[in-house]
Each structure stands twice: as C-alpha cells, then as structure tokens.
Symmetry: C2
Subunit: 77 residues, 2 copies
DNA sequence: ACAAAATGTAAAAAATATGTTATAATCGAG
DNA sequence: CTCGATTATAACATATTTTTTACATTTTGT
C-alpha cells in the first residue's frame, strides 16, 4: 500500500450515491461488501483495493478517476 | 476479498514498462514500493490498492483504466 | 560461452483493508 | 417530541496486500 504516498484522494461516493438516492446498504449490496466498508470509504478515506474501487465506479457508470478525486500530497483541490 | 468478485483484470504494466525501457526496479523506486510488488502485479495479478494503481498509472501518464484491462468474470478479452 | 543484469519463485513476517457486531448519533416523517 | 431509518464510531477478528530475504532462471551484451 505504498507507505509514504505521493498521492491522496477524496471519495465522491456519497455524491453519486445521493444523486441516485441510494443508501449505503444498497450500494454495499450491489458491490458485495459490508455497509461499513462503504461508510469508511466515504468517511475515513482509507485506500480501497483497485477492484473494489472499480466495482463501485461501475455501479455509477463512471471511471475510478471520476469517483475519486486524486491529488498530490500537500496540495489543495 | 478476491472471493466472489464480479470483475477481474489484466495488468499492462509490463507493456508500458517495456515501451519506456524501464526496469521493474526503476518503476518500483519511482512508485516507492518493492520490486516484488511490481513483479507480482505483472505476473500473479493480485489486487493492488487503488493508490498504488494510481501511482503507477501516473508514472506512465495514463489512467488506471488504461493500465489495467478490466473485464467481467467469465468473459474473455 | 561468459558475466552481468533483469526477471521469476517462494515463504514468512508486517501492514492494512475488510468483516462483524454492537452501540450511538443524526435526520426526516408523522 | 418520538419512531424508524440511515449513518457514524469503535473494538476485535479475519483476509489480503506488501515487504523482506534469499535463491533460481532467463535475458542481454560482449
């Protein structure tokens, strides 16, 4: 997981989820993970596996880069 | 959580790496992981963290979706 | 063919993601 | 305000990624 990471990111999952009026549980079920995993992804922003990120992106028909806002460490939006 | 995944993927890292005449070790250093991590990603195809995938994609100036060939389980290319 | 560099394999340890469960906080509807 | 649904927090257990080390094999240059 690349210890001293050059990049960080913000999840936009909650935005897409809100747009579709979808609950955390529903998204979790669609993707096949627990609700807590979705929750922590939206909140604590930990680093998901690529497949998980991709699966969620697919639910909303967007790319991983659309779903997560990548930026370099130490820079703002 | 590689259990009942809906998606799988093939890495194209070795292709991009070959294009740039870059060694596994060089790429590993650029990204800040061990050579084995790169090696296993190219070979055994395990599921990297999203940040790692992104970091590698950035080295080659492509998107994650460019660097990895996603497909649904049970389907061919 | 030889040497050096690059790649592959393997196993165990370390780090981190994910699951599980339980409980609390929040928010909207009535 | 109260109820139910949704979301948040936390502790602990499990699964998976990533590192480390060491050695085998392949490739490349000369």
């Amino acid at each position: 997981m690349a210890g001293k990471d050059r990049y960080k990111f913000d999840s936009k999952i909650h935005v897409y989820r809100a747009t579709r009026r979808m609950t955390q549980q529903e998204l979790a079920d669609l993707v096949g993970v627990s609700r807590q995993t979705i929750m922590q992804l939206e909140r604590n922003r930990y680093n998901p596996s690529m497949l998980l990120a991709y699966s969620i992106a697919k639910v909303f028909d967007v790319t991983i880069e659309d779903l997560f806002d990548f930026k370099e460490e130490g820079k703002d939006a």
